[in-house]
Symmetry: C2
Subunit: 212 residues, 2 copies
């Protein structure tokens, strides 16, 4: 039986796919799935619509790939319960800092995710139950142990996470509102630093976990 050796993917292809994915991410972020046309993505990527379809055979396929890239990035960068022996202050502080860094560095990714969730998670529902929920439950258990040990004051851990997620992601998803209200044309790195300090202090104090 003769096995044909497949040609190695040209480096050009990888570059082009990345260019397409970035263009698509930006489009999905600012217009949503329905509001994004394949032609506009192709234009942003500098290729023809038909050529875009050669690389991603349908708009759904393109959207799925964009979501997958986002999730890979997030899972890679966001682990809460890394070190069982780290202090709550350390863990929470770096969690908030990292989440805000994601909002700062990947605002489009955050917005695509926000669109997906607001629209009822039509694509991500299964993934959330199978992957995110177990991780979430582990993290909740860790917080409960902290409470049992008296390291932080008693709170509902689930709502603690909802609050941290919401208040870090708002700097990406609702950045236009924040800009308009603060009279800025865009959010600078400095604004994210201030937000990180504010939120860390805020959460730690609310948990009675400033020390250590």
């Amino acid at each position: 039986m003769i096995m044909k050796t497949p040609r190695k993917p040209s480096s050009n292809r990888v570059l082009l796919e990345n260019r397409i994915l970035r263009a698509a991410e930006k489009a999905f972020a600012t217009k949503g799935f329905s509001g994004t046309s394949m032609e506009s993505v192709a234009d942003s990527a500098g290729i023809s619509k038909q050529n875009l379809i050669y690389y991603f055979s349908s708009k759904e396929a393109l959207y799925h790939k964009v979501l997958q890239v986002i999730l890979d990035l997030w899972v890679e960068k966001m682990v809460f319960s890394d070190d069982e022996d780290a202090s709550p202050k350390q863990v929470i502080e770096s969690y908030i800092v990292e989440k805000l860094a994601l909002s700062r560095d990947y605002p489009d990714a955050s917005k695509v995710f926000a669109h997906e969730i607001i629209n009822g998670a039509p694509v991500l529902k299964d993934y959330m139950v199978s992957h995110l929920k177990p991780q979430f439950e582990r993290d909740v258990q860790l917080v409960k142990r902290w409470i049992a040990k008296g390291l932080i004051d008693p709170v509902e851990p689930e709502h603690l996470f909802f609050t941290i997620w919401a208040s870090t992601q708002t700097y990406a998803d609702f950045s236009i509102q924040i800009q308009l209200l603060m009279g800025k044309t865009k959010l600078e790195a400095d604004d994210f630093d201030v937000a990180a300090k504010f939120l860390s202090n805020f959460v730690l104090k609310a948990l009675g976990a400033q020390n250590e």
Copy 2:
């Protein structure tokens, strides 16, 4: 000069317009502006597309009206600095409770607003600067006076508002995520009560304003 007396709007018309607006709000909330077709709104409202266009001459007009109804509701229900002499605890607690009540009772409105903001506030930009920003700045000043009087600990008031908004609206906008992670088919009134308690305690403690 003869002035024709215009016919009074039939009560039927008011009812029908409300039915249309509710259907449109739900559609815009779950699909966004681009993802919503006039025909689907008409179907949900139980009329023909052409008849819908008779009442709202374009999709833009319909969307603008939906936004306006939402803003009217929110402005009516959400006043922060009502009473200068109320204690921070009273003001913040009722603010959080009322914001959560809006998320509970008008989740679609919250989602339509979220879509608008994530997409860059193409319609609401001007309104936010002319109406919301002054109100925001008044509220910020009130918080600053609280700090100056030593009623609460020093924080950046702007970020305090961003956090409260984000963490109350997430129970509407991201409800599917919360449901999936908590293993519920929907969020009940009880869940909102727990969230209100959690958030009130959390924020007041972070501000050092539990007493009074």
